[in-house]
C-alpha cells in the first residue's frame, strides 16, 4: 500500500530562483549597451560656460565634437598654455578641421548628412579668436549647424 502513499504536503514547494541571475544579467547587459561612454579622452581643460536658454542635443550619433581650450596640466610642458583645438584624441590645427568634417561625413549614412550638427565644447576662458577661426573653417566645410555646448546655469557666472 505504501506505493500510493501520498507525500506529506505540509510545506509549500520552494519557488525556483535559478533564473533570477539570468534576469539580472539581462538587465545588466541592457544598461551596458544603453550607456554611452565618453568617446574622447580630453587633453584640454574643458570648463564649459553657463547658459540658461539652452536646447537639448539628442541623437548622439549625429553630432561631431570639436573641443578647444588650454592643454591640461600634464600636456602643458609639451604643448604650452596657448588654447588649442582637439579632434578625436589628438591636438589639431585649424586647417585640419575641414578634413575632420569630411571624414566624419564619410562615416555616416548619406541620408543622415543634412542632420549632422557640430558641437563646440570650448573652455570658457578661451579667446574668441580661436573660436571664430573654427567657425570660419566650419563655414568653408559647409557644416553650418552648430551648437555651443554649455552647462545649464546663470549666464552671469561667466563674467565673474
Amino acid at each position: 500500500m505504501s506505493k500510493f502513499k501520498k507525500k506529506k504536503s505540509g510545506d509549500l514547494p520552494a519557488i525556483s530562483t535559478a533564473s533570477l541571475p539570468d534576469i539580472v544579467f539581462m538587465l545588466l547587459f541592457f544598461f551596458m549597451v544603453a550607456t554611452v561612454m565618453r568617446q574622447n579622452t580630453l587633453m584640454i581643460e574643458n570648463k564649459l560656460p553657463y547658459a540658461d536658454q539652452v536646447e537639448k542635443l539628442d541623437k548622439k550619433d549625429l553630432i561631431m565634437y570639436i573641443y578647444a581650450g588650454k592643454p591640461s596640466k600634464r600636456y602643458q610642458a609639451q604643448y604650452g598654455t596657448e588654447a588649442r583645438i582637439q579632434l578625436n584624441d589628438k591636438f589639431a590645427s585649424v586647417e585640419e578641421i575641414q578634413q575632420f568634417i569630411y571624414s566624419e561625413r564619410e562615416s555616416k549614412r548619406e541620408e543622415l548628412i543634412p542632420y549632422l550638427t557640430t558641437a563646440l565644447k570650448v573652455d570658457r576662458e578661451t579667446n574668441m579668436g580661436l573660436v571664430s577661426d573654427i567657425k570660419q573653417e566650419l563655414r568653408k566645410a559647409e557644416a553650418l549647424k552648430i551648437n555651443y555646448t554649455t552647462v545649464v546655469g546663470d549666464a552671469q557666472q561667466n563674467v565673474e
Binding site: T17, L20, P21, V24, L27, L28, F31, A34, T35, V36, P49, Y50, A51, D52, Q53, V54, E55, K56, L57, D58, I63, T117, A119, V122, D123, R124, E125, T126, N127, M128, G129, V131, S132, K135, Q136, L138, R139, K140, E142, A143, L144, K145, I146, N147, Y148, T149, T150, V152, A155, Q156, N158, V159
Partner: protein, 202 residues
C-alpha cells in the same frame, strides 16, 4: 571519524545582492545629454558680394571688447541690462504702413526698429574676448527673443513659446503636433531670430 563534507554555501541570496547593486546603479546613473545654444552659421560667401543695405535704425549693435566690456548702441552697458535693452529695441514697433507692427508694445521711438521682422541684432566681438562672455551675451540675446515670443504665444494661444517647443520636441507628447508646428511657425515668422555676427576685429 567519518569524513565531514564541507557545508554548502547558500547561493540563493546572490541574486538579491545583484539586484540591490543593479537598482543602486539604475538610480544613480543619469544618461547624460548635452545641451547648448544652437546656431546656424551663414554660408561661406566670396568676398566681392555686396551686403544688402539695411537702415541704421533697424540695427542693434552689440560690441564686446577684449576686456569683456559691452558697448551697446554706442553706450556702455552691464550684461544684466542687455536683455531688457534688446527687448526694448525689438519691441519698439515704430513702423507705419506696410512696416507697422500690430502687436508691439514698445515706445514707437522713430530712431529705433520698425518691426521685429526687420530688426537685426549685430554682434561684434574682439579676438581677445573670452568665450564665456560671448556665450553670456548670446544667452541674453536669445533670452530677449524668447521673452518676446513667449509673450506673443501667451497672448495668441494661451501657452508660452518655450512650452510649445518643448512639447513639440517631446516624443511622448500625444497632442496634435502639426497644429503645434503651425503655431510655432506663426510665432517664429512674427519674431524671427536675426542675429548677425561680424568677423571679429583684432
Amino acid at each position: 571519524m567519518a569524513k565531514r563534507s564541507a557545508p554548502e554555501v547558500n547561493a540563493g541570496s546572490m541574486a538579491d545582492i545583484a539586484f540591490l547593486l543593479l537598482i543602486f546603479f539604475l538610480v544613480t546613473t543619469t544618461i547624460e545629454t548635452d545641451s547648448g545654444i544652437s546656431r546656424k552659421l551663414p554660408p561661406w560667401q566670396p568676398e566681392d558680394v555686396e551686403p544688402p543695405v539695411i537702415k541704421q535704425r533697424n540695427i542693434f549693435t552689440v560690441l564686446v571688447n577684449s576686456n569683456n566690456q559691452l558697448l551697446v548702441e554706442d553706450e556702455e552697458m552691464e550684461l544684466s541690462e542687455l536683455q531688457e535693452a534688446a527687448v526694448e529695441f525689438l519691441d519698439n514697433g515704430g513702423g507705419t504702413g506696410d512696416e507697422a507692427c500690430s502687436f508691439c508694445q514698445g515706445a514707437k521711438d522713430p530712431s529705433s526698429s520698425v518691426n521685429p521682422r526687420k530688426a537685426i541684432i549685430s554682434l561684434v566681438n574682439n579676438r581677445g574676448t573670452e568665450y564665456g562672455t560671448y556665450i553670456a551675451v548670446q544667452n541674453e540675446l536669445v533670452a530677449a527673443y524668447n521673452q518676446l515670443r513667449d509673450r506673443e504665444a501667451q497672448r495668441m494661444y494661451g501657452m508660452t513659446f518655450t512650452k510649445m517647443e518643448k512639447d513639440y520636441n517631446d516624443p511622448n507628447f500625444n497632442g496634435d503636433k502639426d497644429a503645434l508646428k503651425e503655431k510655432i511657425d506663426v510665432i517664429t515668422d512674427m519674431i524671427p531670430q536675426k542675429l548677425s555676427e561680424a568677423e571679429p576685429s583684432s
